[in-house]
Symmetry: C2
């Protein structure tokens, strides 16, 4: 059972009762009073491997502090992807019985460090003892004008912040011990994928459709296209692929375009606009990588040829 089918199934079961303006299917739900809300689950062995267990996973070997940092970034990225200001964070936590109070402290210090940057506040939580580490983070935010996945318009251009595939480049560089120094920027993005809050707030007035890049832009752009009922075309030559990512792909014999379209967890902003967008906002690069037209589906233009883009990124139920 894939994620999309499950979302349809759930949507058919739960009934509206007047509290929700935008429900299941966007980065956050939006309540009648303008509050945005999101919840995200992360499990040891699925999204990361905690420090007391063996190597190799979707995320690389991680200290409890790094787990806290990355999970907080991932969750608050959903709030930022509504062009909302983060409010509070609730921390649902299952800890292994073997976890020490020092490890739990580290985890919370990691979460708190991200909250400090984004003006967010840990308001509460719940802790249970289990056999492995699971985090379930819920966050609130506020905006009078939430930016939705469904708001892309024919005629828009498609933009992305930062570099695509940076986080995954960093993860693979660490995993294959390729030398952290040669992949410094990517490892930094992998370790601390801080959501682009200031960019989102600054550009909010110009943005139409907006999503964060969590599952790989092939998947994330498809969400935009499907929810906005438009056709999106990505231009391969315009993708902001860093020299580090090119170097990594060369050393691991990966195709850099395919790699950057399917690599997840960058937590950059992927959005469409018909306005003039500066090439850099608050020192963050903003790249035009495609266009929006009437129709439907996701397409890739490469070497002058345009074809449907079948590639997909991470499905949280099927695995990558």
């Amino acid at each position: 059972m894939g994620e999309d089918r499950l979302i349809r199934l759930i949507s058919s079961i739960v009934k509206p009762r007047g509290h929700v303006k935008v429900g299941i299917g966007d980065d956050c739900c939006v309540l009648a009073d303008g509050t945005v809300l999101t919840t995200d689950c992360y499990a040891d062995g699925v999204h990361f491997v905690a420090a007391d267990r063996p190597h190799r996973s979707h995320w690389s070997w991680m200290s409890y502090s790094s787990v806290g940092v990355r999970c907080a970034c991932a969750c608050l990225s959903d709030v930022v992807a509504m062009a909302a200001r983060p409010g509070v964070l609730l921390v649902g936590l299952a800890v292994p019985k073997s976890a020490t109070s020092s490890q739990v402290s580290q985890l919370y210090r990691g979460i708190e460090s991200v909250c400090a940057v984004l003006g967010c506040e840990v308001a509460g939580g719940d802790i249970i003892a289990m056999d492995r580490l699971v985090l379930c983070l819920s966050a609130t935010g506020r905006t009078d004008h939430p930016r939705l996945r469904s708001a892309c318009r024919a005629g828009d251009s498609l933009y992305v912040t930062g570099s695509v595939g940076a986080s995954e480049t960093g993860r693979l560089a660490l995993l294959h011990r390729l030398g952290a120094r040669s992949f410094r920027d990517s490892v930094a993005r992998h370790r601390l994928p801080m959501p682009r809050l200031r960019v989102a707030l600054k550009l909010a007035g110009k943005v139409h459709g907006l999503i964060d890049t969590s599952d790989g832009i092939a998947t994330d752009a498809r969400h935009l296209a499907e929810m906005s009922r438009v056709r999106i075309t990505i231009e391969a030559e315009r993708l902001p692929v860093s020299d580090e990512t090119r170097e990594l792909c060369s050393r691991l014999r990966l195709d850099p375009v395919e790699f950057s379209l399917s690599s997840g967890e960058d937590y950059e902003l992927l959005f469409t606009s018909s306005h003039r967008i500066p090439k850099s906002v608050n020192d963050v690069r903003v790249s035009r990588i495609g266009s929006v037209a009437r129709g439907n589906g996701l397409y890739l233009t490469q070497s002058g040829r345009t074809r449907p883009l079948k590639l997909s990124g991470y499905d949280h139920l099927r695995g990558s």
Copy 2:
């Protein structure tokens, strides 16, 4: 490491940033705008045993639908325990890879059935695949006058709704196959511990300190005493122990007072007030079971003798 120590540890790490009026330590946190928020985690093998796994656990053998019902009741009970009206529910879900779409449907139908009664709305969620079922539910609510654990006053009386130990009586009756018919009311409360929303809203103006009974009233009343910095005395002879619970205790050779003080998951209202409280509200029994005085600590009066009540209920990190 116990729950209390961990809460102190976490409170020392996280910093306030102006969003939160009441933070870690109550049933919900309260935001500056009057929204209350809570998050709760429940795991297969800890809080219940899902239907595809063997018998015996903290909760009895349960269908996915029952898991959804009980977890939704438990989470929304925290909102009701602030005398707030539930708003939306977010469902964080880790499902075993073996789970069928029919099981996930059942789970959501269970959650939805509770939301329907309480006027609440499932607004979103997240699903990941893991090796066991874990739910992490977050709920919002609204109230202009949240009722806190810390608001008990010397001179108040202590009250509880319903019967104490009913849910655990039902669970044990099912577990030991004592005949569901002889324990009908208890089994019903175990299966559907619907939070006492209408009672909470009706009495809100008269209530001082308020908590729901989730961990056993010995533990829950201790939370009231500690957070209000008062001395609470429970009168054993006044505890509303049902005939079914007395019958169960007699058959399992348990002390009915000890049993009802330490049995969790009733999700009744435990509160203090200096006002006249009716003996029944909306057909729910309300019993005066003790008193509040200056000082500190939790005491039990039994057979004319008053002694410190050491007994405790469920600690989510230490186990029962």
